[in-house]
């Protein structure tokens, strides 16, 4: 977290204003507005079909909204609309300043390239050329995500689900992004593997001062890694606030139902 900056004179890293996406007459997401500051983790929760993944794709430039604006504060301080920049600029941004962690690691990794290559490739995309330095950096990142150095030359299709997900995170973070989008990063993993991954994510996000937008259907995951929570249903934002406040004192009928439906071990 940027602990030492004043809250008064900074501007948001990302601002969504009235973002809507329709699929024909069907609503994907409708009129979503919020601001995200550096170091903040926002969780978007809701059931399947609530529009959370549609929203994530609109925010990350992967899907063009039907209406609304998504603005991003670039490293040089200028604020740009991500859909008013060129496709090439947007792709460069996604490769350098952003990360995107997919639910299925196969969508975020190149399965036929070695683990080290997967991480090194992102570095080369931002201009790194020195082989030794790239390999050193890749090894460093594999260590940070708890992948043993002797697996660096192995391909991710020989990895377990948890290892693949950790490799995907390393590939995304190696370029020092300021904002990471995550789509159900821990679902599909065994509970113990999930705990390890969440712990790792929490630590990395705090140490690097990253901002993140995490889509999840799991309220426990949201509680553990996010500062703020947005509850979606039918494409609309139903409730929003501090994560612990929304989970401990939900106001809307739907959020109360969601919280009351969680199984306690």
């Amino acid at each position: 977290m940027p602990h030492h900056t004043s809250l008064d004179n900074d501007t948001p890293l990302l601002r969504a204003s009235g973002v809507s996406r329709f699929y024909g007459s069907r609503i994907g997401c409708h009129d979503v507005s919020f601001e995200l500051w550096p170091g903040e983790v926002l969780a978007i929760v809701g059931e399947s079909g609530s529009g959370k993944t549609t929203l994530l794709n609109c925010l990350s430039g992967r899907l063009t909204p039907t209406a609304g604006v998504v603005e991003y504060r670039m490293r040089d301080g200028t604020v740009r609309g991500i859909f008013s920049m060129s496709e090439a600029e947007r792709r460069f941004l996604a490769r350098t300043d952003w990360g995107f962690v997919h639910q299925d690691a196969r969508d975020g990794l190149r399965m036929t390239v070695s683990a080290g290559g997967n991480v090194g490739e992102r570095l080369m995309a931002v201009g790194a050329r020195n082989y030794g330095a790239i390999r050193g950096e890749a090894l460093d990142w594999l260590e940070r995500v708890e992948i043993a150095a002797d697996r660096v030359d192995d391909r991710p299709d020989t990895f377990s689900g948890g290892m693949r997900q950790r490799l995907q995170i390393a590939r995304n973070l190696v370029t020092g992004p300021r904002l990471v989008f995550m789509d159900e990063p821990t679902s599909g993993l065994d509970v113990s593997v999930q705990a390890r991954l969440l712990d790792l994510l929490r630590g990395l996000v705090a140490d690097l001062g990253l901002a993140a937008i995490v889509v999840t259907h799991d309220l426990a995951v949201a509680r553990m890694i996010s500062h703020r929570l947005m509850v979606m249903r039918g494409g609309e934002v139903i409730e929003t606030g501090l994560t612990d406040q929304v989970l401990d004192d939900p106001r809307s009928a739907y959020a109360q139902l969601l919280v009351a439906s969680v199984l306690q071990p």
Binding site: M1, H3, H4, L7, W37, E40, A195, R196, L198, D199, R202, A206, R223, M224, H227, R228, G241, L242, D244, Q245, D248, D249, R251, S252, A253, Q256, L257, A260
Partner: protein, 229 residues
């Protein structure tokens, strides 16, 4: 006396949508102020809304009516109306809350759970751990437990981890929800000692203390919550 915390006209109604939208008014017109170096006890029967007041002050519950003013250096912030990131900032620098139960994070060692609030202020990992170790030692938590995640600890052990976590960053405002409920006499005395040290250092405290001996030992006065039913 410098005021640190001031509640004015604070009210709270729970609307239970799963029970047909029945509205349960819990509190109304809460007036309460806590000064620097003062410890105030909230009293009243269970269910009267004592914990609700503490949770509203910490921003964990939404405040429906009134103001909760927190003195933050040169500034006064209304917690009842503050944006989430302002609340997070105050939790980081100004206000600590020792809840009754520890919400343990899987895989994180007790000593790191305790260190975290200091780390969030930019203290190095080594220094934060040193401070955490000192506190855990005073609270008699066996050293062999420090590197284990607290999820499997006993109630009393978890409570001591929670207290150490609440005290470590030395915030000027401290909210305590039954900090000694699961402790034996010896450890209860340690907590009383720690609280009194913090009072001397000028910390403003508001808490729930069911144990009358503890309350008498640390509190300057009591406020009966039934006055605001």
């Amino acid at each position: 006396m410098t005021m640190r915390l001031c509640l004015s006209g604070v009210g709270k109604t729970f609307t239970m949508h799963l029970q047909g939208g029945v509205a349960i008014p819990v509190l109304h017109g809460v007036e309460l102020a806590v000064a620097e170096g003062e410890c105030v006890a909230l009293t009243g029967p269970s269910g009267a809304g004592k914990s609700t007041v503490l949770r509203m002050i910490y921003g964990n519950y939404v405040t429906d009516e009134g103001q909760i003013l927190v003195v933050d250096g040169e500034r006064i912030v209304d917690m009842a109306a503050a944006a989430p990131r302002r609340v997070l900032d105050l939790r980081r620098r100004t206000i600590s809350y020792v809840s009754q139960f520890l919400r343990a994070v899987p895989r994180v060692a007790a000593i790191d759970v305790v260190s975290e609030p200091l780390r969030a202020l930019g203290t190095s990992a080594a220094d934060a751990r040193d401070r955490a170790a000192t506190l855990l030692q005073r609270l008699n938590l066996p050293e062999r437990l420090w590197t284990l995640p607290p999820a499997t600890f006993s109630g009393g052990e978890q409570q001591r981890v929670n207290i150490a976590r609440g005290l470590i960053a030395e915030h000027p405002i401290l909210i305590l929800d039954e900090p000694t409920a699961s402790l034996d006499a010896q450890n209860r005395d340690v907590v009383v000692e720690l609280i009194n040290e913090r009072k001397k250092a000028g910390v403003a405290m508001l808490g729930i203390f069911h144990d009358a001996d503890v309350r008498d030992a640390v509190c300057d006065r009591s406020v009966d919550i039934r006055a605001f039913a």
